[in-house]
Symmetry: C2
Subunit: 122 residues, 2 copies
DNA sequence: ACGCTAGTACGGTAACCATCGTAGTACGGC
DNA sequence: GCCGTACTACGATGGTTACCGTACTAGCGT
């Protein structure tokens, strides 16, 4: 056992251990980018099961771990659920504006794709 | 043969084919990030041989191709050399502020690492 | 105690990627 | 025409990744 909130401990990089390359790599996957976008939209701690992803549960676990180990999210146990939160403060301190800009870029791309899809549907 | 400047043609994604995930993936590698930083600093078209990278020439070719196919750089032949230019305009149009923010983040991280190195040297 | 729900751990697979060396092509200068 | 420089193509290799299924653990409610 470790300390307070829950017996199970989760490895997180400290703020100064977060590497830009790892953050970019974490965000470079479509599934993970979608997770991060969802977390940014709902501005609350979300459990893993909140997300409706096109992969199995074990793959989901994998993606959340990549995000956590890259320093993008913080995960804490809360009973049987695992709550996920964006590390906005740490990322903002290290790489000002990065997260916001990437999220805006993702939104812009999604909007363009929606428009293209609507055009194709006609 | 193809058209104007040179016989050899190089595949580039058009602006609307550029995908955020591919851009982030291209920037997520230390060698490629360094290339992009160098290109942003010297604001001119640089030949591949300008860069003094810790990898062999064939690996260098590989990295430049990833950057080109991701839509981050534009490459044109000029005689025996190959000139590389950042696609700042296209990236800015698609993902406003992204390139600048990533470059600033890379600078910030480099500064922190220099400081850490100086501290360790004492 | 039992079962339900949430998530993990493990083992495997196929694809991808960074890296290299060697051999080759394109162009410019002599 | 020949040589050097710049870069490419190809093939190999080892490491990483995305994905899955199955079996497991942790906590909650009854």
């Amino acid at each position: 056992m470790t300390t307070a909130t829950s017996p199970r401990a989760l490895e997180h990089p400290t703020r100064d251990q977060i590497r830009l390359e790892a953050v970019l790599h974490a965000l470079a996957d479509p599934v993970r980018l979608r997770i991060v976008r969802d977390m940014a939209r709902e501005r609350a701690e979300l459990s893993c099961s909140y997300f409706d992803l096109p992969v199995t549960k074990s793959t989901t676990t994998h993606h959340f771990r990549v995000l956590r180990e890259g320093g993008v999210i913080r995960q804490t146990y809360r009973g049987t659920a695992k709550l996920n939160a964006l590390r906005e403060d740490d990322l903002e301190a290290l790489f000002p504006g990065l997260l916001v800009t990437v999220l805006a870029a993702a939104d812009a791309q999604a909007t363009r794709e929606d428009a293209a899809g609507a055009r194709a549907d006609r």
